[in-house]
């Protein structure tokens, strides 16, 4: 960690987005995580994605639980809303916030401990309810904050820094999210921003529960030989499905894609994702095939990354509950207490 605040000087030719902001306007306070922590790179990718989408920071809410990963919202989007909940409870707080104000963009930031152990149930239910959010798990295979115990996503056979071998089988959060009905599922790696940034952008624009399992090496406790979450291991076992290009609605399409190798996916807001396929023919719209693919590759020791599944017709918790389009927190007294006449009408309809 550094003690000093980051110097305010920036490159004089720094890029600005549609709002006139630079990527530095999306920063938070300086990180107190270990130098080199993968989580910091993910923060950086989130800032980059929000900058590129020209999102007004005050329309974003960051929610998290407990852990090094859950601390990160302090280190990005300093001008956004934030809630640091108790361990594993981010999903329910997020769900509540989302119900109260459906107009904000919700970023749920969690860790593998926070989501796959103490918060496993909360994780599952927020996904199966289809809460409109981006749920990112910064997955380092350990409880970083409590000094490196194996987490539930740690691979069986992976070695701890002290040389202890993990004997429990691993929870694959991406596979679980698929099974639970997430309408956007991806896996990425903190060390590959060119893949991660467009994924986050696409997830933000997705109207439904978007889940990203982001492998994020813990440089202090899980970046040694024998670990399956180290920079070296992930780089040498990365089986990327596709390369992503996120294109906002208005942007003209400038690149030529080789036919057949590219899948163009339209999103609800008019933007598109262009997926350049790498390796096997893979259809991101086929949930069953996606699950099959994940398991097959995992059996060979590979880590599948990229956009794994996308539902073109996502649904949202608000649709299921049939809530009003006005955020609940904006409904005022006349809306909420329509008066005796309205009550009489309702009562009459029930008689």
């Amino acid at each position: 960690m550094s003690y000093l605040a980051k110097p305010k000087f920036h490159h004089p030719d720094i890029e600005t987005n549609e709002l006139g902001f630079t990527h530095r306007d999306y920063e938070g306070s300086i990180s107190t995580l270990c130098a080199g922590c993968g989580h910091d790179s993910i923060s950086s990718a989130i800032m980059r994605a929000c900058f590129e989408l020209s999102l007004p920071p005050h329309r974003i809410a960051k929610l998290s639980g407990i852990g090094c990963s859950s601390k990160t919202p302090t280190y990005f989007l300093g001008q956004s809303h934030g809630f640091n909940s108790v361990h594993g409870r981010m999903p329910s707080v997020l769900t509540g916030a989302n119900l109260a104000n459906r107009d904000l963009i919700y970023l749920g930031v969690s860790g593998d401990g926070d989501s796959a152990s103490i918060g496993f149930g909360q994780f599952a239910h927020s996904i199966r309810r289809g809460v409109n959010m981006v749920y990112i798990v910064e997955n380092n295979g350990v409880y970083g904050l409590t000094k490196g115990q194996f987490s539930a996503t740690s691979d069986r056979g992976s070695k701890s820094k002290r040389g202890v071998v993990n004997t429990d089988s691993a929870i694959d959060l991406a596979a679980t999210a698929l099974q639970l009905g997430a309408t956007f599922v991806a896996r990425s790696f903190s060390g590959d921003k060119s893949q991660l940034v467009p994924l986050i952008k696409a997830a933000i624009e997705h109207r439904g529960s978007a889940f990203i399992d982001c492998i994020s090496p813990c440089v202090a406790f899980n970046n040694h030989e024998g670990s399956t979450r180290s920079f070296d291991y992930v780089r040498s076992h990365n089986a990327a499905l596709n390369k992503l290009d996120y294109i906002t609605g208005r942007a003209p399409i400038t690149t030529d894609y080789e036919p057949g190798s590219t899948q163009v996916v339209k999103l609800h807001d008019g933007s598109t994702i262009r997926l350049s396929k790498i390796g096997a023919d893979y259809d991101v719209h086929d949930r069953v095939a996606a699950m099959h693919h994940l398991h097959t590759r995992q059996a060979t020791g590979e880590i599948v990354t990229g956009l794994i599944y996308l539902d073109g017709e996502p649904h949202d918790l608000h649709d299921s509950l049939n809530t009003v389009t006005t955020p609940l927190n904006e409904l005022n007294t006349p809306d909420l207490t329509p008066g005796q006449k309205a009550l009489d009408a309702i009562n009459a309809s029930l008689r």
Binding site: M1, S2, L4, H10, D13, I14, A35, G36, S44, V219
Partner: protein
């Protein structure tokens, strides 16, 4: 791109923009840090070693370092490097005990320095402590050259000149003041082992216009007039003065006139305001004293009545580009302007003159009357005669004169030992890690947000009363400290070790300026366009290192790096380290000699 060879002393030297731009390569950030630490004496001695006249230069230097200063690229204005030098001179302790002692043993070689300006004094300072018997001749009684005779006392007090010229003369140098040399032969006859010519560019250019002869009594050559003022021979001037010329001499003439009775003093320049040779701050200071600067006016005629000057007639011109793209001044056709005045000061240029060098002694001159001098060794066509300062390549400034002096002294030292003077010594460099803890460095790596501080000045009304009253008061220690904090410590280098890097991106993410990119290799021009932030400043290098596990390269644009050390603080493996690069130019003495 080829990986950067950081062992080449020029690579990191260039990153220290100010030191690279300083003709004497003064270790600027090092002395600025000493000022921050309140050790003015140490700051002074660093300067003294490099540039010999810190107190003088801290008030008068042309400061080529400041336009080069990185801070000026990151925000509006560079660090006030020059005026910080003055802080070191103003607040130092007695430095005499720290000065080299006169050589206890002479080496039997005798050197003559002709002229006692900064160039000769630098030669003498470098050679005397090495055992050379140095004799310095000057036509003036006191040493200092134009620093003493030309620069007005309101910019440079006499006491500062006395002190710093004194440190040099105290090194056991024989100064023969009041002795004009009229023949190089006579010096050659005295069997000196080497002769250094540092006689400056002593002649002011004249303007041969109608009326020049008739009104001669009130038309003065600027540099002659300034030295006459400096010697106390001239102490007044007419109420209405016209100064012709746009250089620093013109600025000194007009400001001096304001102090000697000139009430309506006008500077008139042929060219535009921005093209004037005078430094921006000299123009500002003149205008601040109520002196208008009129541009695009070419003098045509001096008007006079009864043998007395009455004014100057000017033609209005404008600049046009000719077919070859060269700038030409052409009349606008507007009616001529007459400016009435009592005196005219001509500051339209300075020339070299060597009437005292016989044509047959072996010193050859080119067709412009300049001696043929080797730009690196300063040797003339007569091997034992060397030239430096304004005498060598025409009028420049004090810091260039000093730099020439150092180089000439190296040549003379080698020459007297029969060595090949074309073999120049390399500078002494060092690169040392500044790490003290995980995020602790031996230097203050926080970046100050302050804008450049103004140097306090005497109230104009008081300043104008006496030509010896110094206008600038200098920074006090508090302001000096605050200004020193603006320095970005560009000598503390970001040193990258590819074999330690795990490509975690932490440095890329933290860098406030977006200097660092990990990317695929490519040619420089292609690479420059692909970096995280555009690298458009081609004068600044890209630091490239290969040998990374993914096969990519690390490319860092040196241009705007704040040297804040955040990359190194965030690096988990120590692949980045902040290392202080020090570079000292090798002066005359054992270090400059062949190692045979």
């Amino acid at each position: 791109m080829k990986s950067t060879d950081i062992a080449n002393p020029n690579y990191f030297h260039k990153v220290v923009d100010c030191q690279w731009a300083c003709p004497a390569h003064t270790p600027v950030p090092e002395y600025i840090r000493q000022i921050s630490a309140g050790d003015y004496t140490a700051a002074y001695m660093i300067n003294w070693k490099s540039n010999v006249f810190p107190g003088i230069l801290g008030r008068t230097c042309d400061r080529p370092c400041e336009p080069a200063c990185r801070r000026g690229r990151v925000e509006d204005e560079p660090v006030a490097i020059c005026r910080l030098k003055r802080v070191s001179a103003d607040y130092k302790d007695d430095v005499r005990p720290l000065m080299p002692k006169p050589a206890s043993q002479k080496n039997g070689k005798r050197i003559a320095c002709i002229g006692a300006g900064p160039a000769s004094l630098a030669v003498a300072r470098d050679l005397a402590p090495e055992g050379y018997e140095v004799v310095v001749f000057d036509q003036d009684k006191l040493a200092g050259g134009m620093m003493r005779t030309q620069i007005p006392k309101f910019r440079l007090p006499e006491t500062v000149i006395d002190e710093e010229v004194g440190y040099v003369l105290d090194l056991g140098i024989e100064f023969r003041g009041g002795q004009r040399i009229d023949s190089l032969k006579s010096i050659l006859d005295q069997k000196f082992d080497a002769i250094f010519v540092g006689t400056g560019a002593p002649r002011g250019r004249d303007l041969d216009l109608p009326g020049r002869k008739e009104a001669a009594a009130n038309i003065h050559l600027g540099i002659d007039w300034l030295s006459s003022v400096s010697f106390g021979h001239t102490d007044k001037i007419g109420k209405r003065v016209v100064v012709l010329g746009g250089g620093n001499t013109a600025m000194d003439c007009c400001r001096s006139s304001r102090r000697l009775g000139g009430e309506q003093v006008t500077v008139v320049v042929r060219s535009g305001f921005d093209e004037m040779k005078a430094s921006v701050w000299e123009k500002e200071d003149a205008m601040h004293e109520g002196i208008p600067i009129l541009n695009w006016l070419v003098p045509k005629e001096f008007t006079h009545r009864d043998g007395k000057l009455t004014g100057v007639i000017f033609e209005k011109v404008k600049a046009v580009l000719d077919a070859k793209g060269r700038r030409d001044l052409v009349p606008t056709g507007e009616p001529d302007t007459l400016i009435e005045c009592d005196d005219v000061l001509l500051a339209v240029g300075q020339e070299n003159a060597f009437p005292w060098i016989e044509k047959d002694v072996g010193v050859e001159f080119d067709r412009w009357g300049m001696p043929k001098v080797d730009p690196a060794t300063h040797q003339s066509t007569l091997p034992k005669v060397f030239f430096g300062g304004d005498a060598a390549f025409g009028p420049k400034n004090i810091i260039w004169a000093v730099a020439h002096g150092h180089e000439a002294a190296v040549s003379i030292d080698k020459f007297c030992r029969g060595e090949n003077i074309a073999e120049r010594p390399s500078p002494l460099t060092n690169l040392v890690s500044q790490k003290m803890g995980i995020h602790e460095w031996t230097y203050e790596n926080g970046v100050s947000n302050d804008l450049r501080f103004k140097v306090p000045q005497k109230e104009t009304a008081i300043a104008l009363r006496n030509i010896k009253t110094e206008v600038e008061l200098g920074f006090d220690p508090k302001l000096g400290h605050a200004e020193a904090q603006r320095c970005l410590n560009c000598d503390v280098q970001t040193v990258f070790s590819a074999k330690l890097c795990i490509e975690c991106d932490a440095c890329v993410d933290i860098c406030p300026i977006d200097c660092i990119t990990f990317t695929d290799d490519g040619e420089e021009s292609d690479l420059r366009s692909r970096l995280l932030a555009p690298a458009k400043n081609l004068t600044q290098d890209i630091y490239v290192q290969d040998g990374l596990k993914t096969g990519r390269i690390m490319a860092k644009d040196e241009d705007l790096c704040l040297h804040c050390g955040f990359c190194a603080e965030r690096c988990p493996t120590g692949a980045w380290d902040m290392q202080k690069f020090s570079l000292e130019i090798t002066h005359a003495g054992p270090g400059c000699r062949s190692k045979a």
